[in-house]
């Protein structure tokens, strides 16, 4: 059994791997899937009967798995695909960056993202992916994709941390003046849209370079 020691506090980065005294992920998932032999199942149930923390975890997992199974996509398809692409690009930049070599400003083109996720693409008007932009000139604009469309613009720093996010029904938005952006740094941004018919669209993840 590995540790999942909630009582030790958050003094390590790798808590998931510390699970002493509690059920490990393999036992829990095999139990949930009904794949444990009789003796092993009894061992797990004995532990659960004596351990309120693991019972709480099991109970939450039952709900979580049900939610996953029956989940209707409450997030735009584009957001899920882009989030994965952006994070993968940050973690293992090589392949994704090479894929986008023809367009140095775009981590993933909207067409590529749309093709993979079967969503419509939104054309970026500004800032141009190739351009470097002064901090005071940063403003986002994109081609509208229909009446009554709700857009969410997300801007992250180079490490993928969200620095600003906003929702609008317009196809352009200014960056708040008090948003702290650092000259010379590169940011990522993307717009996801939910159209009035329930379908989704995206710009894909685009780089924004600020002039030094």
């Amino acid at each position: 059994m590995r540790v999942w020691n909630r009582r030790t506090g958050a003094n390590v980065d790798d808590l998931e791997s510390l699970a002493e005294g509690h059920l490990d992920a393999g036992s829990i998932s095999a139990y949930l899937d009904g794949r444990l032999g009789w003796g092993e199942k009894e061992r797990v149930q004995k532990h659960l009967a004596d351990c309120p923390e693991c019972r709480g975890e099991m109970s939450e997992l039952v709900d979580l798995l049900k939610a996953n199974e029956g989940r209707r996509r409450r997030w735009p398809l584009a957001a899920t695909g882009i989030a994965a692409a952006a994070v993968a690009a940050l973690l293992i930049g090589g392949p994704l960056m090479r894929e986008a070599a023809d367009d140095p400003g775009t981590v993933r083109t909207p067409e590529a993202a749309a093709e993979r996720e079967s969503v419509r693409s939104i054309a970026v008007i500004s800032p141009s992916p190739e351009a470097s932009v002064a901090r005071e000139a940063v403003a986002f604009a994109w081609e509208p994709v229909g009446e009554g469309t709700a857009y969410r613009l997300t801007m992250t720093d180079g490490a993928g941390r969200t620095v600003w996010s906003t929702e609008t029904h317009e196809s352009a938005v200014d960056v708040p003046e008090d948003l702290e952006l650092h000259p010379g740094e590169t940011y990522l941004w993307y717009v996801d849209a939910v159209l009035s018919d329930g379908t989704t669209a995206t710009t894909g993840v685009t780089r924004l370079r600020l002039t030094p």
């Binding site: 393999g26 899937d33 009967a49 989940r71 994965a84 994070v87």
Partner: protein, 220 residues
């Protein structure tokens, strides 16, 4: 019961060079993204928290040459998606703990423990076994207090002798206060009627056990 590795996982763990590893990782994320995002969404209500937790999970899975994912490959006893959700959920809670500290995250656990301290299982089940209305006494008599302690002690012994699954059923039902349908799901039973039947049988068995110990009536 071992199971074959999913193709996306197999490709990732067996990728021989950084380029193919990157491609495999991207394919893996594309395939399993909805489980990871769904888990982050379930654990974190706030949008930014959710996305940060999601990123944390992905980083943790990629850490040390996909060490966690390799752990599954050593002992693939469950469906991979189930295992992935279990691990992702724990990582999301790790993330919340690192962001907000232990107290806020474990408040639910602490509340449960406090609840547990207030009302032990045997007390709760004793309530179920008590016939009729309880006399409304502000100050229980010494004799009544003695009978209650006798009941609790006998019940604790009887509970300890139950099969783990039966004891777990009673804990889920009485100590955690879960509805019967949820108890059935946690126990992986086919229907809630099985829980009802088993609960009835268990309570009858406990009553019989107490009578065998000479506890016929909890109150004088």
């Amino acid at each position: 019961m071992a199971t074959d590795l999913p193709r996306e996982l197999d490709d990732l763990l067996n990728a021989r060079d950084p380029a193919s590893r990157g491609r495999s990782w991207e394919a893996f994320l594309r395939h399993y993204n909805r489980y990871l995002l769904g888990t982050a969404q379930f654990v974190c209500r706030d949008y930014d928290d959710r996305m940060d937790a999601y990123r944390y999970v992905i980083e943790a899975l990629a850490q040390d040459d996909f060490r966690r994912l390799r752990e599954y490959s050593v002992r693939p006893e469950s469906r991979f998606t189930t295992w992935l959700v279990v691990v992702a959920r724990r990582l999301c809670h790790d993330f919340r703990r690192s962001r907000y500290g232990r107290d806020r995250v474990v408040s639910g656990v602490a509340a449960r423990e406090a609840h547990e301290a207030r009302r032990r299982l045997q007390d709760l089940i004793a309530d179920e076994l008590r016939p009729g209305e309880l006399p409304d006494e502000e100050e229980p008599s010494p004799e009544r207090r003695f009978r209650e302690e006798q009941l609790s002690a006998s019940l604790a012994i009887a509970l300890a002798e139950l099969a783990p699954e039966d004891r777990l059923l009673l804990k889920l039902r009485f100590e955690d206060g879960l509805p019967v349908r949820k108890v059935a799901e946690v126990l992986r039973l086919d229907s809630e009627f099985v829980v009802y039947r088993r609960q009835k049988r268990l309570l009858a068995g406990l009553r019989e056990c107490l009578e065998g110990e000479g506890v016929h009536d909890p109150y004088p």
